[in-house]
Amino acid sequence: MLDKGETREVRDGNSSAAWIAAAWVSFLIWLFHSFAVRAFFDSLHGAGKVLGGH
């Protein structure tokens, strides 16, 4: 049996697990959708070609 404080502790723990999961999901959405990531990999791919352009 959990007392009141412990119940709150468990509830907060569960809630923070949900928030960190949401943060990971948010990061992954950024990783797969941001044009910055795409451009970064493209620039690595053609690094030799683009070096020197400005």
Binding site: S43, L51, G52
Partner: protein, 635 residues
Amino acid sequence: MAAIAVLLLSGMSAYFVARRLTLPGGRAVRVLATLVLWEIFEIIPVQVLASLQLLGVIGRVSISKTVVVEMVILGGIVLWSFRTPQPERTSDDPHQERVPRYVFLAGGILACSYVAFTVNAFTCYPLGSDVLIYHLPLTTRWLQEGSLAIPASHAWRFSLPGNAEIGMMVLLSSGWQPAVVIASWIPAAMVATSTYLLGMWISGQQRAAALTSTLLVLTIPMVEWQAFSAYVDLLATAGVLAALALILAIGPNGTRIPPSIWLISGLACGLSIGTKPVYYLYAALFCAFTAGALWHAHRAGERRLLKALALLILGLLIPSSFWFVRATAETGNPIYPMQVKLGQRVILPGYARSEITEPDYELNSVPEKYGWFLYPWTEWKKLPGFLKIPYGEGDGLGAAFATFGPLGMAYFVLLAFREPSFRARNLGLLGAFLIMFLCWWLVMQRVLRFGQVIAIFTYVLSVPLLASLQSRQRRAFAALFVLAIGTSSLIAASVPLHLLGGRVRKHLWSRAAVYSYPNLIDELPPGSRVLNATGDKARNFALIGCRLSNKLIANFEAPPDPTAEALRAVGAQYIVEIHPGGLYPEGSLASAGAVLIDDEMVPSGEEKVRWRIWKLQKDTHKTSGGSEAVQFNFP
């Protein structure tokens, strides 16, 4: 040498004053106060000299005269500090909570990215579109003419308040052009310290959470780019944040706000007001906030209230009033170039908002206006430019913002409505956020850069979420935090590293090679008046030449028709064109009496661009037939 002297003397003045003031709230408050005072002591002497020059008391503003004023100020401060006892130091610093190792790891990764930017900045020449279009052309003009007057053209770009440009002017006077980026470092430090203090305040002195939010702010690509550029937004942002942070950091737990804090907070906000008109709105919000804080001070007595109010207003006016007085004297409108309109009636002449910022400017960052709600995850840019990475001085929020920003706000909203403790404070903060967001959405034309204060405020409001995750989901949070900062830092650093690599490979070290212009521009006689008719406004600064000795007629000052009379009226001696794409039709310059003196292909990236330089014949140009001697403050 004079530039270094101005920096050192103003820094020493700030240090001595901050040491003698009663500043409760710990070391970070003292550091922030010192940074604000440093900016003030750097800017005010130039403003004083500029006022004297405009009144005709002195002939020119120069950096050597600024050094003399700085020395007088420092001397006065040293005498004052001998006579003023050092305030009793109370240990206001909260107990030193241990900072987790992953915060240092993330900080180290971020520092590497900043080092990449530093190396690139000091081996290159200043970059950034607004920097090249008007910030540096304006500062060079101030140096060349020894005056901060609004030019006769009344062009809006050369008529804005210019606190940030004063710092650039001091550094540019050294003759070492890459040094101008250093002007952004004090504002960057102010932003970091303010975020830390606001994080400490909102989290109830949780140092790890406050440091985490500070690192997150420094990963915002706009902030990182501006720290190594000569944009003015960073100083404007820093001023508003510092003004707020100083009052909030002192205010909790019933601590009475000392007079010095009211003054320095006002000075910080005044720095913003004297930097960029967009920040008038943020300053108005700050004033509304201080009205509430002053109401609290009212309980301590009417006299104290009046004193606090007087110091705050004095602080607001000291760094900003010069620009209002200058604009009133020269245009009749204190907030020139901003137009004041009541319905269809123009009350004060100037430029309409749409003439300064294109109404659909936001479409460079989002396909349509509601796209802003997805922007943190897409970071789309219509014309991404170099390497197609959509980051720059006005673009990008970074991986960390997408990860923690919106969620942090959602958490804070729940906290504000669910938690009874601090409910009034939290609802007030939410209200402030909402008002700022609405101002940005409705008045600031949704330009991302104009909302960087809001992005930083989002991180401050995210501190409760960060603190909660740090204590309850330690490992998962540590991994995500390091990953988000690492990803952002890696992508950001790739840009200066590519630029640097490109310059090494192609040996692009000279100014002409970096900006891709003909060497002849650097060889023109000092004082030559060069008109930018390239059709590319970002060429303005380049045409001033490597010794900064050409007098520029910027593209936005160029006459629409290149007749001999019109060219004579603006005082042009040389007209520079890029073909195709030049400002004037083929053959029009020849019929105006100009002679082609250079026609060459200049390498630009992987391509070559055709440049043509025309010289106006002396008989068609009697007013400035010979090159005027340009007086410089630098070698």
